[in-house]
């Protein structure tokens, strides 16, 4: 079925071809059957807000296709992007389990397919299916590790240059380019969004990129960034 946003919608988890590769989705048949009966498959355009920080938890959102920006906001409107969630991730988990307000805002950055499950249905599902419960614990652990990593990166880095260098090295290690001499990465975020990921201003990010290019540490080709001097970037990531 083609949705209005050009997505090839996966109608059923039971017939999903990518299920086996995704931690939460790779459930035994009985759990999958139960999940199928409580989920609502929905398509969203780019820029849709799935939930807002501070909102009472309605349920979880399993990201099937597309990417979602997870951010937190200060009272003065300053935003910090915590993570770009990839397909297979379950969003709104901890709030749904604990009953506390969503602690993040989730906004789609691509057209997305999302499977939504209401809070009460999800909690009952967890009580009935221990395999699913275990997978949820694993997902929460990954999210916790990510949050600790974020605290470390934000709280213990000396400078914006150090944070940007760390972010670029982290991105290049994720897409299988880490072992290459000159890793390439697709910059899917604007300078403004990168600034929100490292807790600095757009102007600083633009200045830092210009400096990195001038020193031939990176080179940009359209939206592709080539890390030309990995060693120098590592030094920046360690010493700022």
């Amino acid at each position: 079925m083609l949705s209005p946003y050009g997505l090839d919608i996966i109608e059923s988890c039971l017939t999903c071809k990518v299920r086996a590769d995704r931690i939460f989705c790779d459930l035994p048949a009985s759990a999958l059957q139960s999940f199928e009966s409580i989920k609502y498959a929905t398509a969203y355009p780019k820029g849709a807000v799935l939930f807002v920080e501070g909102q009472a938890p309605r349920g979880i959102f399993v990201l099937c296709k597309g990417r979602v920006k997870l951010s937190i906001c200060a009272t003065d409107g300053k935003t910090l992007i915590l993570k770009i969630a990839e397909p297979g991730e379950v969003l709104g988990l901890s709030a749904t389990v604990s009953g506390k307000a969503y602690e993040l805002t989730a906004e789609t950055i691509d057209p997305c397919q999302v499977n939504f499950v209401k809070r009460e249905d999800f909690l009952r599902f967890l009580r009935d299916h221990s395999d699913a419960c275990f997978k949820v614990a694993e997902q929460l652990s990954d999210k916790y590790n990510n949050a600790c990593h974020e605290v470390r990166a934000l709280g213990l880095s000396h400078s914006a240059a150090e944070k940007l260098a760390k972010l670029l090295l982290e991105w290049s290690s994720k897409n299988g380019e880490a072992l290459k001499q000159e890793p390439r990465l697709k910059l899917a975020l604007t300078h403004e969004e990168i600034a929100q990921m490292i807790g600095t201003s757009r102007e600083t990010v633009t200045r830092l990129f210009a400096d990195l290019k001038k020193r031939q540490i990176v080179q940009s080709k359209g939206s592709t960034l080539v890390i030309r001097n990995k060693a120098a970037l590592r030094v920046l990531a360690t010493n700022g």
Binding site: I72, C73, A74, D76, K78, L80, L82, L93, S94, A95, V97, S98, K100, E103, L104, L126, R127, S130, C133, F134, V136, A137, E138, L140, S141, D142, K143, Y144, N145, A147, C148, H149, E150, V151, R152, L154, G155, L156, S157, G199, T238
Partner: protein, 164 residues
């Protein structure tokens, strides 16, 4: 300094007030079989950030400081863990290294469960697994609060203020 103590969770009078420990009798009996209890003096480091996760540490008595550390040795306190809390859970479940360091703030009594035994226990006892899911959710809320204060705090003081 470490010394072994024999204590059954089934006999613990504080069990009911502690989220993880308030388990059905069957699960508690199984937990008793896989845990070892030891007492440690104040200042002992239960585990260090980036060490391979060996197991979890349930604080029966005493508090622990959880902190993160930079490559240069700079340290930031994440929060203070209280009696009844299980430390090292997320590292054990994700099979990664400990993401924080845990140092005892008091003389403490700690129940230790090896990673392999914990995973087996959680697969066998659904109630315990549900408790762990709740504990991890609470931990995550606190961690996000910390991200907010560190990343969006206006002043250096508010950024470095630990969460209790």
């Amino acid at each position: 300094m470490e010394s072994a103590i024999e204590t059954r969770c089934l006999d613990c009078v504080q069990r009911m007030d502690r989220f993880f420990c308030d388990l059905p009798a069957g699960a508690l009996q199984a937990f008793d079989l896989i845990k070892s209890v030891a007492s440690y003096s104040r200042g002992t480091v239960l585990f260090r950030q980036d060490e391979t996760a060996r197991g979890v540490f349930l604080l029966c008595e005493g508090r622990a400081r959880l902190s993160v550390c930079s490559e240069t040795g700079k340290r930031l306190t994440l929060r203070t863990a209280m009696p009844g809390e299980v430390l090292g859970l997320s590292a054990c479940l994700s099979d990664g290294p400990y993401e924080v360091s845990a140092e005892l703030l008091d003389n403490a009594r700690v129940a230790i469960v090896k990673r392999k035994d914990l995973l087996h226990f959680l697969r066998e006892h659904r109630e315990a697994c549900l408790h762990v899911v709740h504990l991890l959710s609470q931990d995550l809320h606190v961690a996000y609060d910390r991200v907010r204060s560190v990343g969006l705090g206006r002043t250096r003081r508010s950024r470095l203020q630990p969460v209790h």
